[in-house]
Symmetry: C2
Subunit: 392 residues, 2 copies
């Protein structure tokens, strides 16, 4: 069984959970919130200040006499690394404890090079970014990593990832910790994009679904404020749900009529080529749409309807209040979303869509890095993470 932090070594970590929202508090308000004795509060605040995690805040509204000292989370107390390892591109960033990016580097990178090559690059690049900022490597609190495949959450190992040869069951945290002695959190790329989108645009929303439409199609689901991973870590894997319109279209998975075979970037480009339009990739489709090409606009809208057909089932099942559409094809603008909305609002039960927003991703291309940062920060600021920092 797990051991409550309030009962653990320091006790400071539980107090810190009140302060991690960033709002300043006095010793008196902390005592009132927790029921702890003032002397206990004082000792624990001192410990958090010693760790640098909490700083005094100037008190604007003094009531006369000596003002009560206020304390708040100090976002610059530590840094985290956030890595977005895609199929053909990798980005790594250093952020502070609020998720603000301090430095970032991205470059083409083939995930099929295998874990040691890609993770080696990630570690080297991350350390170079930290050095470049003039920060000390000991300030690093955790690292969050997104990968383009299913991940066993408890171990951080990719499981049967179809486009990551050499990564199956590879101990990502174990390998990285040979070089960086910090907690390593690994998750599926679309899952962390959901975390990033929520952190940026919908911090108060408890039920959010993020849909990535790019070379593949997938989704990340946050329900009751928690990322849903499922029994095998593949919850949200909607790319191979069948769409009625496409019953004769073969998919690379071996089935026919999968959403991904109809509405992904390459699928839209292929459909356009069959109409005689020069489009070799999803990016070409986006460019055609931006230039106002009617065929491309119609094809993207139809892809939106196909995605909407699958999302109608998702909306019934998950009952989110926000569906955010991201990924490279979302750059085609409102045409994709319009198709999604057309079908979801027509086909869903009124109660499911009464308060449902279907929107373009606000985090856009930053969603994954921001989400990886959130994954690392959530862990670093958890009772367990704070206890670990205190014990170092």
């Amino acid at each position: 069984m797990s051991r409550g932090s309030a009962l653990g070594s320091s006790g400071a970590s539980e107090l810190f959970q009140l302060l991690r929202d960033g709002a300043p508090r006095t010793r008196a308000s902390l005592a009132a919130s927790t029921g702890l004795a003032r002397s206990t509060i004082a000792a624990r605040v001192d410990e958090l200040m010693r760790l640098g995690l909490v700083s005094p805040v100037a008190d604007a509204a003094s009531t006369g006499g000596r003002p009560p000292s206020q304390f708040a989370l100090n976002p610059s107390a530590r840094i985290v690394l956030a890595a977005d390892l895609g199929a053909s591109h990798a980005t790594i960033a250093v952020t502070d404890l609020s998720g603000t990016v301090l430095a970032e580097h991205g470059e083409p990178m083939d995930i099929a090079q295998g874990p040691e090559s890609v993770l080696g690059w990630m570690v080297d690049t991350g350390l170079a970014l930290i050095d470049g900022l003039g920060r000390d490597r000991h300030e690093l609190a955790a690292i969050g990593i997104g990968v383009p495949g299913p991940v066993e959450h408890s171990s951080g190992r990719p499981v049967n990832p179809p486009i990551m040869p050499g990564w199956d069951r590879f101990d990502v945290p174990g390998w990285v910790q040979q070089h960086l002695e910090v907690p390593v959190l690994v998750d599926n790329d679309v899952n962390i994009m959901a975390l990033g989108e929520r952190a940026l645009a919908w911090p108060q929303v408890e039920h959010l679904m993020f849909v990535k439409v790019a070379t593949g199609i997938g989704s990340g689901i946050i329900s009751g404020g928690l990322l849903q991973r499922g029994a095998q870590g593949i919850a949200g894997d909607i790319g191979h749900v069948r769409v009625a319109r496409g019953s004769d279209v073969p998919c690379h998975c071996g089935n026919r009529g999968c959403l991904e075979a109809l509405a992904s970037g390459p699928a839209i480009a292929r459909a356009l080529r069959e109409q005689g339009v020069a489009a070799n990739s999803g990016n070409d489709v986006v460019e055609l749409v931006k230039r106002g090409d009617i065929d491309a606009i119609q094809a993207v809208r139809q892809a939106g309807r196909d995605i909407g057909e699958v999302l109608t089932a998702c909306v019934s099942l998950v009952n989110p209040s926000v569906v955010a559409i991201g990924g490279s094809m979302a750059r085609a603008g409102e045409h994709l979303i319009a198709g999604v909305r057309e079908v979801v609002y027509t086909r869903s039960m009124p109660l499911a869509t009464e308060h449902l927003a279907i929107v373009q991703s606000a985090a856009a291309e930053n969603a994954a890095v921001l989400g990886a940062s959130m994954l690392a920060i959530h862990h670093a600021l958890s009772p367990e993470g704070i206890d670990a920092l205190a014990a170092r």
Copy 2:
């Protein structure tokens, strides 16, 4: 913000969380698990014993000298009421703190009589059952109620329930508490069936989907061990997802091709009537299947395939390890499940079905009452519930 129970009035409730699994523990093992001082443990165990929630357990393996005293949850310390209010039938039971039914009564009941009539019957019948057992009304710790419609979880109010006229936004807990001064937990019937199924047959499973196939079709989803309710409390509402085969079949919701319009009990009966088979209801269909009627067996199998089509999307999205099929139509036996399996195993990605069991409900007609009991027990034995018992 909520206040941790460890910081609350008694502290005993947190200790109790270790004991609620029913396994016996010594004072020493409790001290080791919590890091609390032996004197604190002793005081809190005494308080739990005073409440009757914890009892001494005879220690079989004495190591000589005075044996260490062991303690465990006492399931008979309190009772709960569990009510399953269906569209046309209601059942209420008294259970102990392990969910064992001590007394039960069911009778035809029209939910459309409205809340005061139905809840009044529920309260009267529940109290009569308690009296009949010779138990004291003060032993009642909580009441769990399942209703056939969406419920706002935080308030226990039904929200736009389509088949419950007069119940919209009715304050069920407030009304019941005028008669029974205990916590009142209300949830959707299919949600509580998922809780009941898990408690009876899959206590270790974290990701389970319960599908009810009866006059309507709905599902309850447990992910990461938690019931998923969604933003409006309607997560799992799969009855109106479109099935490709049925694009011309009108549904009572106003759309066409809904799963419920093709695969519910009345829908199967209607399809059989169109073939000239005398079947007026889902029950007639079940009887025909049990007598080996080929038309009925084929119709049920096709309904299973239609349900399987929708469940394929659900399995991709939620990634459960168990899908349990219940409701009155599940009494048609393996034919329904066979149709579901046929489609889900054909259409899903291998990783999603590698460890997926699709099974008939083990709790069957007891799922709802058992789930309502679990809803009440989970609350009664939570830190909040224990603190409330201690304060009475």
